[in-house]
Amino acid sequence: MRARLPVAIVALACIGAAFVLLPVVALFVRAPWSRLGEALSGVGASTALRLSIEVSLAATAISVLIGVPLAWVLARSEFPGRNLLRAAVVLPILLPPVVGGVGLLVALGRSGLVGRWLHDVLGLQLTFTTAGAVVATTFVSMPLVVLATEAGLRGLDRRYERAAAAMGGSPWYVFRRVTLPMVAPQLAAGAVLTWARALGEFGATITFAGNLAGRTQTMPLAVYEARQVDPGGAIVLSLILVVISVAVLVALGGRLAGLR
């Protein structure tokens, strides 16, 4: 016996569904199916795709590596300025990505605050490099895994960690064998969101790392460039991105919903 939903709710839900489905459907309808192969090679689809996957996975890995400890600090320790730190962590989500890119530029660009030292002392320049694209992407997507993990940590029953300590577990052992496994679902959901955001990242990347095929031109950048040169190709690239994203998200399916 199905629950009776109020008509207004159903109507709004329909609008919501149409809103997100329409652009995807339109892409499928307008794609130049007849000259697909030519369009694909013309806009450097495979190179852009490979780069996108590399950059998004690297950004996700780094985000998890430094994001999880950050989440732990935010959730568990008390220190003055903690709220300020959390605000700073959330900021990249709120800011337009281009603003993030500009910030990275003045911080890590060749004449940047820290970038100057990187260049003069270590001979490193991040702008115009794939590493730079990874940095820009990590900057905008890390907050997602931090927030999800922090929420998960806050929701944990602390009795388990206390019991683990009483059982002889050092703080690191407790973290590794009790805390982390128990917060794994939320962490995983956060990591998936981070990866999704990383895959679609554009503004900070083009501002900080630039746009060069094979080095910094990820799929979103390729689409942007293709718009001017080959609108049909832009549609094809967009579709590839959509199909891959949908495939991954459907495969992870219920786990994403388990953001408990």
Binding site: C14, I15, L105, R110, T127, F128, G210, E225, V229, P231
Partner: protein, 261 residues
Amino acid sequence: MLAVRRVVVLFAVAVVSVGCSSSSSSTSPAAAATPLTVFAASSLTKAFTQIGQDFHTANPDVTVTFNFGSSTDLASQIQSEGTADVFASASGTAMDTLQSAPGVTDRTNFATNQLVIITPPDNPAGITSMNDLTRSGVKLVLAAEGVPVGDYARQALKSAGILAPATANVVSNEDDDASVVAKVTSGDADAAIVYTSDVPSAGDTVRSVAIPSAVNVVATYPIKVVGGSVYPDQAKAFLDYVVGPSGQATLAAFGFGPPSG
């Protein structure tokens, strides 16, 4: 359940009917405060903003709103949306695409521009001539192919016979000349090729290195009233203003050359 099904059907009908109906609707021009939409190449940003203000002072009943971007981009927007009254492009090619649809009236050349090499003030790579762009390790930034200034730059490099080695040094293909300049002012690029008109407004944030006139490109900027504009008279007035003495003076002040007729 029946109620739900009914809503879904109604909704589907609404979507289909909206999709089938024509999208444009004509509104009669307002008597006061005419809004004029001008699409202009991004290299014209500073010059046209000034011209827009001056035009409004001279014609208080017209307010000019600008949309600056790469000419190719703007051309495709006009083709699909058609919401511009005036289009000022950095290349004739971009404008040619609009010849048939939505059509062009009163097409005039109003300025020319040339190319110049710019470097950060401290010139980290020591660029003093065009040939220095071929030195290995130089970080060169250009606008992407398909963007007028990007095509012009490659044309000049080809004329100079250094297209291949220079292209090997390209580290980024930007979307418009403003982004190219930004990469130089931030100090991350060693050199870039942009319009001469970009230099005066950049001031001390860049150093310029001349490109020999033998290989330099003269970009002719056409301006036109967009076919189907709802304010053709005011659009023509703006066009005349740009081509007139006041507009020309402003353009010259911002580094543009006179139209070659």
